[in-house]
Symmetry: C2
DNA sequence: TAAAATTGTGTATGTTTGACACATAAATAG
DNA sequence: CTATTTATGTGTCAAACATACACAATTTTA
């Protein structure tokens, strides 16, 4: 029934949950607001939809503005539309979440927006309904990462199996068995050995792998499912 | 960054995908439009968000208007926001999907809106991007019904195990083994026997069950997962 | 009254998960 | 430089689960 003339045109915002991983914990890129409203409080990065702009393009723009990155994993999450969610003016917010490699971002852009990476565990209270948005994003990340190998989006191009394991442990907040995890991952054929060894880590032993792009896209397109057992984990 | 004054206020529509089940096939409640634009073509039921109305309330209102039903399963799916998706005016559409018992609706409301139940398999082409919406809704239904027992929302209060099986076969477009399905379902403890037998079906033998509401809510809240093996099915 | 169809329960097999042992290589402490 | 500690890579085994298939009982249909 779209297409009627109608009087209620409404402000459409976008907010973006940006996930990163530093090798130990899941992190969020948050903004300490140096502008009104809610000056001094923490929030997600956001912006408004322009009249001549696709929704997804707007999310891409907002992400680029903050991180300097353009080709990240970016997926629409949900739209928040309670009447009083923004006290200033009725605004609905289309929420996206993004997975980025924490090393790739533009530090100047971050500084300019007063943004910093915060451990998910020690997240401050956010403005408006942004806490609910983060909660929903984490749920979605957990679901999605169980069926599709999107976790790799959070890692650098080359990584070790234990690094990958730590990532999944951080996402699902569980301890996994090294041996079983390794076997499982290797069986997916998603990892290509590079022959190199990890030089950055404290312990130098891990073999560096990179992603098998072809297999990766097969999994993304759903021809096979990734680690379905994680779908059963209680998501506390 | 919500809260700025900003000039781009945009028309916000809602469209609703309504799933039903007639014992054999999954069905959609669709509208043959007797109004402009796109007069004579098929579309989803939709409407516009009022300025003083929560998003979810608006979806509930639209569903009620068409079906006369108020307490159905109703979940937000995704927001569609391509610039030219609606040729009349820039409109973003927040899409909801709903699961209803096909016997419970108000026939007068359906008539008044020129709506009818159409087999998913023989769906006509819909206006604008509504075909994409239906596709996304089916994907979501398949995902959700694998982890949560929301399929029951499509059945009458009392039903037989074979009826339930047919529903899952329709949702996932597969053939399931009677014996294994029955065992699996009984193990969930979601079914309470009523002692009665099915009088309506051609074959009168099936025992009628009803839903164990308590267990049902446990599953919905994610304390256990339902039939996770379906998450692995190829969703063609 | 017999045959066909549908429902309910049982059993066997192959696969996968999850728990744990051992060997090897690298880093660290003395 | 050597021994100890730490982290990584591969292997085995039992329990749980999915899958395939057999048979009995009841109702419908011919």
């Amino acid at each position: 029934m779209t297409g009627y003339l109608h009087s209620s045109r409404i402000l459409v915002a976008l907010d973006c949950i940006i996930f990163g991983f530093d090798g130990e914990a899941l992190k969020l890129l948050l903004i300490k607001r140096n502008f009104e409203p809610e000056f001094g409080n923490w929030s997600l990065m956001g912006g408004f939809l322009n009249a001549d702009e696709d929704l997804h393009d707007a999310a891409t723009r907002i992400l680029f503005t903050l991180t300097g990155l353009q080709n990240n994993y970016l997926e629409q999450l949900q739209t928040f539309g309670a009447v009083n969610r923004d006290p200033v003016e009725r605004t609905i917010s289309v929420v996206y979440y993004s997975l980025v490699n924490i090393n790739d971002q533009d530090p100047l852009a971050l500084k300019a927006h007063n943004a910093s990476w915060i451990d998910l565990d020690s997240k401050p209270q956010l403005i408006f309904d942004h806490d609910q948005m983060v909660e929903a994003a984490l749920r979605q990340l957990r679901y999605k990462a169980a069926l599709y190998p999107i976790g790799f989006e959070l890692l650098p191009e080359k990584f070790t199996v234990p690094q990958l394991q730590k990532l999944y442990e951080a996402i699902y907040n569980v301890k996994l068995d090294r041996r079983n995890f390794s076997r499982k991952i290797m069986a997916t054929e998603l990892l290509l050995g590079t022959g190199e060894k990890d030089a950055t880590s404290v312990t130098k032993k891990g073999q560096l792998f990179k992603l098998n792009k072809e297999k990766y896209h097969d999994y993304l397109n759903g021809y096979q499912s990734f680690l379905p057992e994680f779908t059963e984990l209680s998501l506390t």
